[in-house]
C-alpha cells in the first residue's frame, strides 16, 4: 500500500498509488491514512483515487473509518473515482456522504 501526501493552502492531498483498496490491504490503508492525517493540521483532506481501479466493501469501510476519524473538525473528500469504484460508492449510496471531485483541486496535481 503506497500513499503519497502533499499539502498546500490548508488542503492535504493524499494520492493512493496502489491500484486496489481491498480486503488484502484495507487495514494497512487505514493505518497509513491515520498516520498521514495525524502529521498534518490541514482541515481539508482530499484522497486522490485516480490510480485505484478497484475497491471492495473492506476498502469502502476503511475510507469511511478515515472520514469518521477526521470528524468533527476536518473533512475527507474524494477525487477522480474510476468506474468500478464509482459504482461501489453509488450502489451503497456512500456517494451522498462524501464530497467527490472529478479531479484533484487545481494547483495540487502531482506531476506524472
Amino acid at each position: 500500500m503506497e500513499l503519497h501526501a502533499q499539502e498546500s493552502g490548508g488542503i492535504l492531498v493524499i494520492r493512493a498509488l496502489q491500484d486496489r483498496i481491498d480486503a488484502a490491504g484495507a487495514i494497512r490503508f487505514k493505518d497509513m491514512m491515520r498516520d498521514l492525517t495525524r502529521n498534518s493540521a490541514a482541515p481539508r483532506v482530499v484522497l486522490d483515487m485516480s490510480k485505484v481501479a478497484f475497491l471492495d466493501s473492506s476498502g469502502l469501510g476503511a475510507v469511511v473509518a478515515v472520514l469518521k476519524a477526521l470528524q468533527p473538525d476536518r473533512t475527507l473528500e474524494l477525487s477522480a473515482l474510476t468506474p468500478t469504484v464509482q459504482k461501489v460508492f453509488r450502489l451503497t449510496r456512500m456517494d451522498s456522504i462524501f464530497t467527490i471531485h472529478d479531479a484533484v483541486p487545481d494547483g495540487l496535481r502531482h506531476a506524472g
Partner: protein, 158 residues
C-alpha cells in the same frame, strides 16, 4: 466432518468448454490474485466491461466472506466455477468452511445513512452482492457450502 468433505473435482477433459474453474487457498491475497487474473484473462475479455466490473465486485464480496467467516477458525480452499448461460454468467462458489449462520443468506439490506459519526464501516458486502446478482442461493451439502448466483448481462436499474 471437516476434512472429509470434497470440493467439486475437475471435469473430464473436453467437458469444460465455456466453463472456468479455479481452486484457490482461502486467503485475501489469493482472492486478489484470482480476481486480477479473471478480469485480465479470456473470460474477462469475453464479457462486457460492465459485466466484468460487476463480476469483480460480487466475487470479491463472496470470496472475502468465505475467507473471513467460513474459514475464520481453520484454513481451507475455495472453488469458483463460472459458466456462460447465453449472455449471462452462472457462478458457483464452494468451500469446506463453517456453515452460514442459520444455514441461510443474510438479508443484506441497505444501511441507514445517518450521522457521519454513526456510519457503518462494514456490512456492505451482502447488499452489493444482492444488488448485482439474480437467483442467489445457498445450500450446504456434506460439509460443503455452495453459493450460486447469476450475473446478468445487463443490470436493471435500482
Amino acid at each position: 466432518m471437516r476434512g472429509d468433505a470434497a470440493l467439486p473435482s475437475e471435469p473430464p477433459a473436453g467437458a469444460n468448454a465455456g466453463q472456468t474453474r479455479c481452486i484457490i487457498p482461502g486467503t485475501a491475497e489469493a482472492v486478489r490474485e484470482l480476481l486480477q487474473s479473471l478480469v485480465s484473462g479470456p473470460l474477462g475479455r469475453a464479457l462486457s466491461p460492465e459485466q466484468v466490473s460487476n463480476l469483480e465486485i460480487v466475487l470479491a464480496e463472496v470470496l472475502n466472506n468465505v475467507v473471513e467467516h467460513a474459514y475464520a477458525a481453520f484454513p481451507g480452499r475455495v472453488c469458483v466455477t463460472l459458466r456462460r448461460e447465453g449472455a449471462d454468467l452462472r457462478c458457483e462458489v464452494c468451500d469446506q468452511g463453517a456453515a452460514m449462520p442459520g444455514l441461510d443468506l443474510p438479508a443484506g439490506r441497505q444501511a441507514d445513512l445517518a450521522e457521519i459519526a454513526d456510519l457503518p464501516e462494514g456490512g456492505f458486502g451482502w447488499f452489493l452482492i444482492r444488488s448485482l446478482t439474480q437467483d442467489l442461493s445457498y445450500r450446504r451439502d456434506n460439509g460443503v457450502n455452495h453459493l450460486s448466483f447469476l450475473l446478468p448481462a445487463r443490470q436493471l436499474p435500482h
